[in-house]
């Protein structure tokens, strides 16, 4: 990662942890109240593409981790002379008891379906999101199914194995 960008991020934001993984990958770990300022700052720096937004359930630490992968479309052109294909992985953690975070749709409009998916599968609410409606699932689940405490085998026993086989009455 570019030293200049690294110093700039460290000077602007407090409590930020930057780790390099090779030439073109770096993680930025921050507190959850700073996530929108960081994303806006990086967007202004030219990281204009949110490639992925996903969530991890750290059940032992009672936290959810949200992972934003940012990259840019214009790589190595005249404007961006650093010529590195950099993927920035922005990570933040939120409490499992109160899974809430501000939406990133104002900065990256394509975060909308990602946030709907995470809302449905992990039960994380994104404040300010205009359309947190069901996206993929058909059935209702008491615990969102991608959480670690969702017991798939118990669920399958309850929901699908109870349905009886069809026996032909004549036989």
């Amino acid at each position: 990662m570019n030293e200049l960008l690294k110093k700039e991020i460290e000077s602007v934001f407090k409590d930020v942890l930057i780790a390099d993984y090779g030439d073109n990958r770096a993680t930025i770990t921050i507190k959850n109240e700073q996530i929108l300022p960081v994303l806006r700052f990086l967007n202004d720096k030219g990281f204009d593409h949110l490639a992925l937004l996903s969530a991890v359930d750290w059940i032992e630490q009672k936290e959810f981790e949200l992972v934003y992968i940012l990259t840019r479309y214009m790589q190595g052109d005249e404007e961006h002379t650093d010529k590195e294909k950099l993927h920035l992985i922005v990570k933040t953690r939120i409490s499992r008891q109160r899974p809430q975070l501000e939406t990133a749709t104002a900065i990256f409009p394509n975060a909308e379906p990602y946030e709907r998916e995470i809302h449905e599968l992990f039960g994380i609410t994104f404040e300010g999101h205009k359309r947190l409606t069901p996206l993929l699932l058909e059935r209702d689940y008491e615990i969102p199914p991608f959480r670690k405490d969702f017991d798939t085998r118990e669920y399958v026993k309850d929901a699908f194995d109870k349905i009886p086989f069809i026996r032909n009455e004549k036989e």
């Binding site: 058909e138 069809i166 004549k170």
Partner: protein, 191 residues
Amino acid sequence: MDRNQITKWLKEPAKMANKYSLHAIYFCTGCGIIEVPPVITARWDAERFGVIPVATPRQANLFLITGYVSVKTLRPIIRTYEQMYEPKYTVGFGSCPINGGMYWDSYNTIKHLDKYIPIDGWIAGCMPRPEAIFIAVTHLWTLIDKGMANGHVRYRENYEFYRRNQEMALGKLDWPPLYQIDSKSEEAKRE
């Protein structure tokens, strides 16, 4: 045409015509559909066996369910099956429709498809080779000859049970029953 089959043709021409012109509905579920394009095109050429894909269920009489069935896909599968003409034949393709396969403990996959619609034959494997489809088709010919490919008959006879299972999996269905459900006989059967 095989000379040995002339008596069969004279006896039951409609059945023989059905048997040798299976129109498969081009319905894709899961990953097994990747095997179907080579099967119907020049490399394996399913038309040698009289199998041809058609666009709509109203023209089809063979239903290949190719791969895992998610809960959301079960709804169009039932609707498609109910729209097809009789006699209609269903073949489950791959191990996932049989018993869930690798998705046996998935929160969102239907495990046993024959609980919801009748199945005439299974092709096991993950994935089955394209040749397996032709073996299945020739087996299906034998079954049709013997009158054992009677899924649509079983569906009509046990419709209330199929409908009950469908409602257990999907909640309330938003289309009317295909056959009339006689509530008295249903109670009598349960007792």
